[in-house]
Subunit: 189 residues, 2 copies
C-alpha cells in the first residue's frame, strides 16, 4: 500500500500477520524485537510513539466514540524514544531499496528540527537506515545527519557517508539489531 | 464532550480556539505554554506525544488517504516526554474537580507500568495533578505514585498525600507552571 511519506502501517489492522519466527521481515519489526529484548534484560526502555492522526469527525455509538474521518499528519518527531540509564534516546528508522544513497525526502523538516532540539539539549539522537538490497543497517548520529544537511545541497546521503561517518549495526539473532552497543562504545560504557 | 478515560481532545478540530491571552484555561494549555517557554530559553525540550489511535478502515481519494473508521486506544504511555540536559523526563498531566482526592481511575494500568519502567531505568517520571477547585497543581514523583499504588488498597490518592509527598508548582505568568524548578531542586541543579 502507498502510505504518505513517513507514515508507517503499524496502526492499520488487517495487514499480514507479523511472523516472529522469520528473519528479515523489516527494520521496524527488528527494532521492536530488539527493544523488547532490552526491556527483558532491563538494559533500556525504548518504545515506539503513536502515529500522529488528525481527527476531523467523530460519532457516538453505545457509549463509545468512533472516529469517522481523520488524516495521517506529517510526523513532527521521530518514531522511537526512551531512556537508557537515565539518558534520553531518540531515533528514526528508515529502509531504502536504493543501493547507493538514502533520499532525504524520507526525513521531514520537522523531524530535522526535532533532532536539532535533541542535540541542543544533550540527548542521544540518531537515525537507523537499512539498505535493504545490501542487507546492511547503519546508525548515523544526529550531529552527522545535521552536518550533512547543513553543508550539502544534495537531496540524498550517499552510502559512502554512512560507511565513513555512521556505524554498521550487527545483525544477530538476539538481539536482532544491537544498536545500543554502538551507544555504549561512544559513551565508553 | 465525554471522551473515553484518558483521551484528550487536542487532536479533534472544531473545538473552541485556544486563547493564549487568558489565564486558567486548562492544565494542558498551561503545560504547552510552559514547554514552549523552556524551548525558547533553551532550558529543555519537552513535548506532547500523539494520541494513540487504532485505524480500522481507510479510503484513497485524490492520492491521499482518508481514515474512515478508527478508535481511540487506551494510552500505554504518558502525555509528555522529552529531555532536560540530556536526562529523560516523562509525565502525565491530569485535572480533577474533586477537592479532597484524585481518583486513580485517571491513570491506566499501562501508564503505571510505563512509569515503573522509567524509574527502573533511572529516568525522571512524575504526574502533575491540578485540583481545579483549589487552583493548585502538584508534582508527584513516580516513585511516590508507585509507593501509594503498591501499598494502599485505595482507589484514590487523598489531597493530603500530594501535600505531604508532592510539590506545589508555582503558578506564574512566565513560565505558566515552572515544574522544572522542582526538578532542579531535587537534582541540586
Amino acid at each position: 500500500m502507498n502510505y504518505p511519506k513517513g507514515i508507517k502501517n503499524d496502526n492499520i489492522i488487517n495487514k499480514v500477520p507479523t511472523r516472529y519466527d522469520n528473519r528479515g521481515m523489516g527494520l521496524e519489526n527488528d527494532i521492536n524485537l530488539t527493544n523488547q529484548y532490552y526491556i527483558n534484560i532491563k538494559k533500556a526502555y525504548i518504545y515506539k510513539k503513536p502515529t500522529p492522526i488528525q481527527v476531523t469527525k467523530i460519532e457516538y455509538k453505545n457509549n463509545s466514540i468512533i472516529i469517522k474521518e481523520g488524516f495521517f499528519k506529517e510526523p513532527s518527531t521521530t518514531d522511537y524514544n526512551g531512556l537508557y540509564n537515565g539518558k534520553y534516546i531518540d531515533f528514526e528508522a528508515k529502509e531504502t531499496n536504493n543501493k547507493t544513497s538514502f533520499s532525504l525526502n524520507n526525513i521531514h523538516k520537522h523531524q530535522v528540527e526535532h533532532i536539532r532540539n535533541i542535540i541542543n539539549n544533550n540527548g542521544i539522537g540518531f537515525i537507523i537506515v537499512r539498505f535493504n538490497k545490501l542487507n546492511k543497517s547503519f546508525l548515523l548520529f544526529g550531529k552527522d545527519l545535521i552536518d550533512f544537511i547543513d553543508n550539502n545541497g544534495r537531496k540524498s546521503i550517499p552510502l559512502t557517508y554512512f560507511v565513513d561517518k555512521g556505524f554498521l549495526i550487527q545483525d544477530n539473532y538476539l538481539p536482532r539489531l544491537d544498536y545500543l552497543k554502538i551507544i555504549d562504545n561512544i559513551l565508553g560504557g
